[in-house]
């Protein structure tokens, strides 16, 4: 299949935004009903109490916490694909990153609901938020549940920011498409105008945006590892057999990426089919995901083998007992199924034919999702039902409220994803265009620091606008113009052009200083919050002298680092790229987000003929006086 042109990419990616067929609304309605049923059951449960679920001593955590861990895990693959693969400079990331990020945002939103469901009296959730209360009661930062709030809260915030920032250029493309088709006043146009916050694709914007995006990726990567580690430490900090083991953190993170990749595969195969995105999302993308799944399978398998081995090695009676019962007790069927589904089934991807077969990919994706849900179930409820003493052992039976709420929130996830795929571009359009132009991840040109001020071009300036059909040669044009005294130039493009940016904006982007300041103050702030709040009452809890319990406070400091680093990164980008302007400059042409490249030369009317003459040799498609 030949490489798609810029125009084809643009049209393919934005085609799903057209008005929907009735089938779409029908499916949306069914999912809404499912979700609605789940909410009704939740309201009923809140009224009547958690006794209607299967929860009973000693099993205090069951399907709701399983769902919580499962959905956080699903979110991880999105950040892996967006952030980690961006840092790795993987090419196959571009077509799937936007959908994966959206999946992350929705999965984490749903995950965050489950502790509320599990709380019963969900209105008291605010107890755990650190705020100066009347009675000077602060949450205990030595508790893993409080780390959860820090980590999941940070993850939700940063994922949403990362997703929305990534969407800015694509929202601009949608804005221009809709403005052209439906006019400026149409609600969709307004939506995209707000989301694109004045994006024009100018080189100034790309320059600062590019650095900010890199920092977002660099911050999101350790965040994603920390979040699921913190969730795993909800269990590893306890003394339960099967829970208290040091391998939980990397084991959970690998499992999260495993289940998340399976969900991405399971979501994208139908999405690609329904929205005809075959030219952009090819079988190579799925093969790359399948290969990554082999790695996660091996890590998960490694953990599955080591746990019983160390249980025996440790000589601990309760660990050995639990390892034995897990394999032979009442949920042995789940344990053996999950081993099969999570480790043996995905190993079929070792064979190339399996990796490139759509049906196999879809089946394996769905099976791994089931297996990973079961794994969470076995870890959480299994350890609780087979704890230390035999008289305490129990069988857990699902009741209808739990099944309804689990089902309802699955419906919510697909409902949100379906809304996303209709209203927002599901493909990172500018990245795919950059890839097809062969410029993705090109090495950064050496920038030279000049003492001269960068040309600040105002929104209402007049001058000459030249439109080109290709970015080749833009660098020579700019050099020639600058040599002839026309230095106030701005370039426009649908994707980042590093060499052009280096010429027009040679000063290193100051966004890095914003980010560093935010990160350092966030880290100090996190430690200050934890140590300070412990000092308020100086309670000696759990044998750990709280004010000096710096080991768990590292987590709070770390999440603060990421959160404030990301927020200041965002602010730095908005400020330096001058985003947030309501009206677009007069020199802007809507084709610049599609497949045309522009050069705006701000000059007095006397200089215009000279500029036209200089430009003529480079054969622009159009030259307009603005």
């Amino acid at each position: 299949m030949s490489k798609p042109t810029l125009n084809e990419i643009h049209e393919d990616a934005l085609a799903p935004l057209k008005p929907a067929r009735p089938m779409y609304y029908a499916i949306l309605a069914i999912l809404a009903c499912g979700f609605g049923w789940g909410i009704l059951v939740w309201i009923y449960q809140t009224r009547v109490g958690l006794g209607i679920t299967g929860l009973h001593i000693p099993v205090g955590w069951a399907p709701y916490i399983t769902n919580f861990v499962f959905w956080i895990g699903i979110g991880h693959a999105g950040t892996l694909i967006s952030a980690i693969l961006f840092l790795n400079r993987s090419r196959w990331r571009t077509a799937i990153s936007r959908s994966a990020e959206a999946m992350t945002v929705f999965a984490v939103m749903i995950a965050a609901l489950f502790p509320l469901v599990h709380l019963g009296r969900l209105w008291v959730f605010y107890y755990i938020i650190p705020y100066p209360s009347e009675r000077q009661l602060w949450p205990n930062f030595v508790s893993p549940l409080v780390w959860d709030i820090c980590a999941v809260g940070t993850y939700l915030t940063v994922s949403v920011i990362f997703w929305l920032v990534g969407l800015i250029p694509d929202a601009a493309a949608s804005r221009d498409l809709y403005a052209g088709q439906a006019g400026q006043k149409h609600p969709r146009t307004l939506l995209y105008r707000i989301m694109s916050i004045g994006w024009t694709g100018s080189s100034r914007q790309w320059h600062h945006y590019g650095r900010a995006y890199l920092f977002f990726a660099a911050l999101a990567t350790p965040l994603v590892i920390s979040v699921h580690s913190v969730v795993s430490w909800d269990f590893a900090m306890a003394n339960m057999p099967g829970w208290h083991t040091t391998i939980f953190a990397p084991y959970f993170v690998a499992g999260a990426i495993h289940s998340g990749l399976a969900m991405v595969i399971a979501l994208l195969i139908p999405m690609r089919r329904i929205f005809n995105l075959h030219r952009i999302i090819t079988i190579d993308h799925f093969e790359a995901m399948a290969k990554t799944m082999i790695v996660t399978t091996l890590i998960v398998g490694y953990a599955y083998l080591l746990e019983p081995f160390i249980a025996w090695y440790s000589g601990d009676v309760f660990e050995k007992q639990f390892a034995w019962l897990r394999a032979t007790g009442w949920f042995a069927v789940f344990y053996w199924s999950l081993t099969l589904l999570n480790v043996l089934v995905p190993l079929v991807f070792v064979f190339k034919a399996a990796r490139r077969n759509i049906k196999t990919l879809l089946i394996v994706g769905v099976l791994v999702n089931i297996g990973m849900w079961l794994e969470r179930w076995v870890i959480i409820t299994g350890s609780l039902s087979y704890d230390f003493m035999p008289h305490n052992w129990t069988v857990y039976i699902f009741r209808w409220p739990e099944i309804s709420i689990t089902f309802g929130f699955f419906c919510l996830f697909f409902f949100l994803f379906l809304l996303f795929s209709k209203f927002l571009p599901t493909v990172a359009i500018s990245d795919v265009k950059e890839l097809s132009a062969g410029l993705l991840y090109s090495p950064e040109p050496e920038t030279f620091i000049t003492k001269k001020q960068e040309a600040k071009i105002g929104r209402k300036e007049s001058g000459l606008l030249a439109v080109f059909t290709s970015p080749d040669g833009l660098v020579e044009v700019i050099r020639k113009l600058k040599d002839n005294g026309l230095t106030r130039i701005e370039a426009f493009s649908p994707f980042r052009l590093d060499e052009v940016n280096a010429l027009l904006h040679p000063r290193k982007s100051p966004v890095r200083l914003w980010t560093l300041t935010g990160a350092v103050s966030g880290c100090i702030g996190g430690f200050w919050l934890a140590i300070g709040s412990a000092h308020v009452n100086d309670l000696f809890v759990g044998g750990k002298f709280s004010p000096a319990a710096y080991i768990p406070y590292c987590i709070v400091g770390f999440e603060g680092l990421i959160l404030f680093g990301a927020i200041s990164n965002l602010l730095g980008m908005l400020y330096n790229a001058r985003l947030g302007q309501i009206r677009l400059p007069a020199a802007y042409d809507a084709r610049f987000t599609k497949d045309r490249f522009g050069l705006f030369i701000a000059c007095a009317s006397e200089q215009i003929p000279k500029a036209k003459e200089l430009l003529a040799s480079f054969k622009p498609e159009e030259i307009n006086v603005v």
Binding site: L87, N88, S90, P222, I225, S229, W233, A236, M237, N239, H244, T245, T246, I247, F248, A249, P250, L298, Y302, L306, E307, I310, Y313, S314, G315, D316, P443, L516, G543, K544, I551, P552, C554
Partner: protein
């Protein structure tokens, strides 16, 4: 020459003076250099699997680790003669930690990794892509998990940590990366882009190592169970190990993050080499810190440690010289 001097020095120390300490010194050097050398071969394998074309021209410097194979096996066999000094005589695990069984399986494991490594290097030199890269990575993880459990964790058979094997092989890869960086920069082989990538990779792997260390520290500290916390008590609270721990946090765990933050620092050959050498020293200290408090040693560096360390360094440099000569670098 230096190698022979080092070995002679060590042998002298074995037969006179504090024998436990001399065997410990050999152990520390074995667990530092062996994962380093075999890890160096694994890095190109990882680059191949992840299609990281940036590293192709640097592969040949990484293959220098291969020539260390005979030294590591010889060191292991020599280590065996002194096993009474470091392997527990009557472990609760019974047959699993029986000295003969440990010796045979670990020797076999070493054999597996070196044979696979040799096969991979031969294929890579001929330029034939192979699935051997994947197998090599997997084998490295399994072999050094086992060696980590048997040679380090078993020093105190009452202690255990499920992640210890994982931490051991990842920190081995960290040492291998630091050594690969030094070997690629000193002869001027790595370009600015490649140095930048090596620097970024160093930060990533150091954070990964720190994460795996923290993942063990946190649950063990939190629950303070006697059978687990026995490992961290001397290293967190007792003099002088406490200061060694602080030194390690500042150098190998958080050092690269701070030192290699800027673009310049990663591209500058001198600075990156200096940081990588610091990492190598730090990781050696880390291996020593894993072993010595458990075996009741003191914070002393004398002829014992220096002689055998020098011997190992010399043999490693010898293997590097042979390799570079072969590759005509």
């Amino acid at each position: 020459m230096i190698l022979l001097l080092g070995v002679a020095g060590w042998c002298y120390c074995v037969f006179s003076g504090d024998t436990a300490r001399t065997w410990r010194a050999l152990l520390v050097n074995f667990i530092f250099f062996t994962p380093l050398a075999s890890g160096m071969i694994v890095w190109p394998a990882i680059a191949i699997i992840s299609q990281g074309n940036w590293a192709r021209s640097l592969e040949r410097t990484a293959f220098a680790g291969l020539y260390f194979a005979p030294v590591s096996i010889a060191a292991f066999i020599v280590l065996w003669f002194g096993h009474s000094h470091w392997l527990s005589p009557d472990p609760p695990q019974g047959f699993w930690l029986n000295s003969k069984f440990v010796f045979i399986r670990d020797l076999a494991a070493l054999g597996v990794i070196w044979v696979l490594g040799t096969a991979f290097v031969n294929r890579a030199r001929k330029g034939t892509p192979s699935t051997l890269a994947g197998w090599l990575c997997f084998a490295y993880a399994v072999v050094f998990t086992l060696i980590g459990f048997d040679i380090v964790m078993a020093l105190d058979p009452h202690w255990f940590s499920t992640l210890f094997g994982g931490y051991f092989f990842v920190s081995g890869m960290f040492a291998a990366l630091a050594c690969w960086t030094v070997l690629s920069i000193l002869p001027g082989i790595a370009s600015a882009e490649q140095r930048h990538d090596l620097g970024k990779l160093t930060v990533a792997v150091s954070l990964l190592t720190a994460y795996l260390m923290f993942s063990q520290l946190l649950p063990i500290w939190y629950e303070a169970l006697p059978k687990e916390v026995r490992f961290i008590i001397p290293r967190l609270t007792e003099y002088p190990w406490r200061y060694v721990s602080i030194f390690l946090v500042l150098t190998i765990y958080l050092g690269p993050l701070v030192l290699l933050l800027t673009r310049w620092s990663k591209r500058s050959p001198a600075f990156l080499t200096a940081v990588s050498l610091l990492m190598l020293v730090g990781l050696w200290v880390e291996r020593w810190w894993e072993v010595t408090p458990t075996l009741g040693g003191q914070l002393t560096f004398g002829l014992t440690e220096i002689s055998i360390t020098v011997a190992f360094i010399a043999s490693f440099m010898l293997s590097g010289i042979i390799s570079f000569g072969r590759e005509k670098l």
